[in-house]
Symmetry: D3
């Protein structure tokens, strides 16, 4: 039987200035659609799972375009509700070397999704055939309304026996001088969570946990089991990232029942900044659904995350076979 | 001395689906900036006048891009205020033959301009060097706030001795079941107006005027002098449009001191739907500022409007010489 | 309940030379995927039906790209079998005015679909949830193998209680000096058919029927009921096409139980040559599935066909609302 | 044996603003290379003749790019001399409907070709294997130096037994108030000419000939035999052009030994303004070299000219087969 | 009061082969406009200064396009004179790694600017509102006429109390076997200069100065004060550049009243080769006009130069804020 | 006298996904034509030799496009035979860093060339004016038919006194479990060969030769003279490649009459993966035809190979001057 994986979250329109110019130098923009849930589902679809997004889109050309794009990614669009008037959108100017990228939002809070409430979704029906439901923490920061929305849906999902997946995706900037509220919100969310993506830094900055360890891996070993215990979370996973000159690397970790395993580091040059974490997360979910060993799961996930950084576009599109190939090959073998 | 012509109105971002496809078929969008005031000023700049727009734009990459675009059109951007967070924007899917174009707005009321109030503009200073100030009636329909904004600024301009130009640009759809308010608002605006762009249909539908005439030209002769008298307007101008098969035509009219003159009709195929009226309006303003005869003014304006439909992009870019050439030539003379 | 509409047929890669140049002038090609079944299903999906294609594609990047494209059209790809090595493909150089288009095929008979046999498809399972199954006559002309394939699947579908739809799409050129075989093949296919798309010319040239009538509508009235009777077909539909200068028109006809109704002619300029017949066919199928009256069905279908010619891309993408709008509007109403 | 056809003339760089915008709206230009001789040779190559251009190009990247382009057209580049520093170039802004195209030259007289003299070409060797040599009259108007150059080379070619082809291509604008010199120059050129492309208007305006006839065909019948006689020209050919709404037509004429034959008119919509005359001319040359009858020659030439207007790019690229197909088909027959 | 900064120099059309191909592989060129003065003014405009260019352009489409481009950069075009027929232009083929870029000029000496003389400019009026006037040394090498032009204008500017800025931009290749004349010309120019951009190498190669020091910084310390003294120059600035593997760096220096200060080195990968020096120069000018300390000025300038190398397009477009951000941040901080 | 260099081999259509995306993300493909023989001839043409390809192409638009492309490269197309129906083609998805490129073939064995036999070529005539004929080993692996084809033609060429050039280009993957046949085939080919491109690895893996040496250069010294002797080959050449981080290098070697010389290593970043070996091979051939010393030949060849990797497009396009410049320059010298 196919595992039905869903995500509850926003789909945004991404208007990307081509190349490395500023917006003021451009007379055309590359159009795509993105979102944490979108990215995870796109990858899950490539790995052979049935994927569907639960979200809200306007009932107009813009919403139609988003839906067609999602379908091309392999994401079913039957669960999408048509409410509200706008899509959230952002303009992206790619940075280069030490010149930073610039993101400019439009309709951040006025989007169909951010203006929706739980009542807009026939959740009972939508959750019926759902094995896993994915949430992203960024949505918790947008407004009181979105916090309410996500927590309500997560609670209902948990209650309905759906495996709740939560990617902390904590953005300090968005919670400035709201640290208290951040902590409360994340704690509430974690209480509904079965599988969580986070790092030791999240445990420290959001949850206020403490550790005497200074080494990152020791901190993870020290903190994550406590988090799992405190909130009743079965699985916690995340990545250690490093960057030197033009090369970056991802090393995955995965905790289950007090066992913390690490992947080997996957090194690569970054072509696409966005979606690496989602590539990793989908790798973990795929491993869990496929009954891989913990070791295989985390290796697969790290390679999946690395590949996402080597392919243009936010959404990972590598097949299971391509991911395994990266795990096993040590260098580029090109031939004509 | 150079005549300083300004416009008070919104600058919108236009995201145009290339060719004739639907948005869902596109992976890139053509980016430009548009607006009635923008279009009129672009043309005035080509005709040798000093042009500047008074508007509000967000202080970010998007606002910077708009400003750079306006400057390339020959419009000074020193009078622009940086307030608010968003630009108004719209997606345009070009229709083809009997398949209609589709316009989808984003941030209609949440834009920097529509959220601004008169107090956001140092009007005393901005109006000091202004010979003419242009307003567009579409802004009157957006919200109570924009109505207030436009009427206030028009009143101040009139008081400051600036020639107030008002293009009715009445859109029935936007005033559905608000016809009363439309009438009151337009009447208030006309009371501040020196030069008005309108048709006999505006006089009838907005102002509720009546005429026994059935021929369009007779209706104009019947109604416009009354409008001019009632509101103390010096100049009224507008166009009669016809369309047959692939050919359209513009015939201009111009009323001053009870004298109503007509241009010859200018026939053309439409390449660009938007900006023809603005091309016409700028032709009239240029004629008036250049002390053309009424006849020359209206001929020039009709040709200016026709050329705007034969050049891609909302904003007219034809030089005075090019406009006069269309007035005098009867057919295409191409040679290698 | 959603009606599950499927098609059994080939998906081809279309490599279109942009604009109107020859292939030798181009250094890039526009890539899309096409096919009669694809086009009909794309439209059905827009009309709210569940659509899925049964076909064979190679298990490689090329097949993946085709599948992603189909999904973006709203066509489910779960029924696709991965066999064979190649996709059928063709290069299209657009003609202009009296200069003809040029189509150059590659891998015509070597494609995964044309090399497949009925045994490659788990038909019992695939037909289980199918309300309608669409076939295109072009496939009958490719080879003995494809003839066998289509006839076998149509027979099984009929037997399984699926409504068999057959679009004759007769191409004289492909059957040169095989007229006998064409007749036999089409007769065999029609024997399995419930809904058939054809014209009076098909009845005459393929089936060898005769009529004394000279007027096209009289010929239809004379011949189609006989065809329906002879082969036990419930519904026959098709179009009368005319073309003058730059304007073309489609007039639809529809026969059911000896009642032959005609739509009004829909006139338009052609932007896209391909897919108009498929737009019409899908309109008929939608009308039948929606219990429209015969008159409404054929009006809807003619407008659907006309719109397909006014939108770039082989596959129709107009919504039910857009099609009805064309039926009811008499001219272009554009406004800003 | 293959007929070696050559042209002596300038190759210009064409920088075409894409679409219909003004140069000021563009941030990229389409690059190609063009010239009367280039166009004629490109067509001759398509018709199966060996074609080579004698010209001068700078020995740099720009000259290399021109040569690669010429070769892709099927024109040999071995006869090209590398002298001078610049290519002649022009910017082309496409007009639309009644808005005229704009051509802006750069380096008109400073180009390698226009700065060259006969001594720069090893003519004895270059003419050795030449059956026909083509000249264009535009070059006569550029400067005293180019007049000298063309006349010298034409004289040498004639003397070497090469068939001299001369296309009058008279541009009144370029000879303003130099009509005397124009007459003398053209007379000198015609004295070396074997095959001439001209119209009755050339005979009247350039050569000052007179006729009592008012009908164009009668004028041709009246004037051309005199021209042929006076200058010892064997063959004269040209076109009668008409234009109505969107449709244009070319009717060819051809005079040999006092026999004047006309083709049927070929009607078409214009896609490409440039190169139609060259398409016609090459058709005539091909007919002559292939020993077609006069009637076939002129029919072929008219169709060749018409096709050149229906294909983008200055240079004709239709094959002999495609040209004959236009002669024999009466309407577009498209099928899938 | 806004500081009015102007430049006197040539605007060139840049026709850039996209990507890394040779011109012969391209069928389109990227169009932009460039020049040392243009680049400096574009940056000054971004830093909040009023910027205007004094130059000559042809009065045609090409000149119009250049002007529109300049305005989009924030440079006023009112001071531009319309004389002459051509713009100077160059084709740029981008090199890659060890394969060199190729620049091919067209109309080098025949351009409107290079053919103009001081009398073509209403200098008295143009200099009236000018705080600073920028000159580039490349123009001194083109011809006797341009030398005369620049020296005359610089002299008049100095006399009119304008701060004369001179960027040596010495190109050895252009002065081959004219070293004597180079020395004389540069000395004449330096005599009019208030702010000079140069390096120790310029002092040695052009001016023939000598130093016993071998370290670059010691050479600067040794030579620059002498130059300042000898020619009465208030401010001298320049950069020390280094390059290793893929990383380059700029370190700025600034001399005033015998005080020589250095910035920290700014390291970066080069995206755009051109305009870095102009980014640095504009940073210095901005610091001086803003009464920054010498230290702040040179830090700001080095970051401004570095950013220019990290943004496509010759002309710097970074805001004051963006430049300061680079000064203070040590590494890329990207977040989603 | 010009040396006529020819190649006998396949021309393939290359459909390249732009940038680094997967095929499924693309809606356009970059079109070019490629092949080992094509690449070698393109380079030879740049080096001043007369180059012509002997191959088979379909007589349709696709074949015409290939021929035009070849001509633009400077390769004569007169020797091409028109047989068969298809071109071989492949889709290329560019890899990035550790993500591998993906090549998907279409019509591998069904192409005009691979379906042709020696009898399809008028070889006697085609070889008459041929100095050198180039073969590529990849063709030996496609099918029994192509093996037969290449061996027959090579034999005839050798007999006709043509210098036979053979590039082993051994692809292990294509000969899996056919090692015996590979050995026999290569031995047969080598017996006809005058100039061979191979490495020590080819001698070991294909020919089964053995060496006690472990150092690569020693292995070459040990094995190549034996190969030369055994098969009567006059010249053997090849490259030693290394790669570290982003930098690769080519070091050439060349054996003649037992003298083995090495070039210095040429280091570069790879822009284009394909064609480096062909750049090297053409450098060797040019050196031999130009009577360079062995040392100069191998230096020239290594630089030619390196440049091919720094220019986009499979086919080398560097001039002799550009190659020599790379040999002599030690670093990038860019100037404005």
């Amino acid at each position: 039987m196919v595992n039905k994986v869903k995500a509850f979250g926003e789909v945004m329109m991404k208007l990307n200035v081509p190349g490395y110019t500023k917006l003021e130098q451009a007379n055309r923009l590359d159009l795509s659609f993105s979102g944490t849930g979108v990215n995870v589902l796109a990858a899950m679809s490539r790995f052979g799972h049935s994927a569907s997004i639960i979200t809200a889109l306007p009932d107009n050309s813009v919403g139609d375009a988003a839906a067609a794009y999602l379908r091309s990614l392999g994401i079913a669009t039957d669960d999408i509700q048509h409410t509200g008037a706008y899509m959230g959108m952002y303009f992206l100017e790619n940075g280069f070397d030490r010149r930073a990228s610039v993101v400019t939002y439009s309709n951040r809070k006025e989007s169909s999704f951010c203006q929706s409430s739980a009542a807009d979704y026939p959740l009972e029906k939508l959750l019926q055939d759902t094995a896993m439901l994915h949430f992203c923490g960024i949505g918790l920061a947008v407004s009181e309304q979105t916090r309410e929305l996500l927590l309500t849906v997560a609670k209902m999902a948990k209650k309905a026996g759906v495996t709740v997946v939560f990617d902390c995706n904590y953005r300090e900037k968005l919670w400035l001088s709201q640290e208290e509220q951040a902590k409360a919100t994340y704690e509430a969310m974690l209480a509904h969570t079965d599988i969580c993506f986070m790092t030791e830094r999240d445990a420290i900055s959001i949850l206020g946990m403490e550790t005497a360890a200074t080494d990152q891996k020791e901190q993870l070993q020290d903190l994550l089991p406590s988090v799992a215990k405190q909130f009743g979370i079965q699985t916690i996973a995340g990545t250690i990232r490093q960057s030197q000159n033009e090369k970056s690397s991802i090393q995955g970790f995965l905790l289950q029942q007090d066992r913390l395993v690490f992947s080997k580091p996957q090194a690569f040059r970054i072509l696409e900044r966005i979606g690496g974490g989602d590539g990793f997360a989908s790798g973990i979910l795929h491993g869990l659904l496929s009954d891989y060993s913990l070791e295989d799961t985390v290796e697969f996930a790290a390679a999946s995350g690395a590949l996402a950084h080597m392919l243009p576009g936010d959404s990972p599109r590598s097949s299971e076979k391509e991911v395994w190939r990266l795990v096993t090959r040590s260098e580029i073998e090109m031939e004509r």
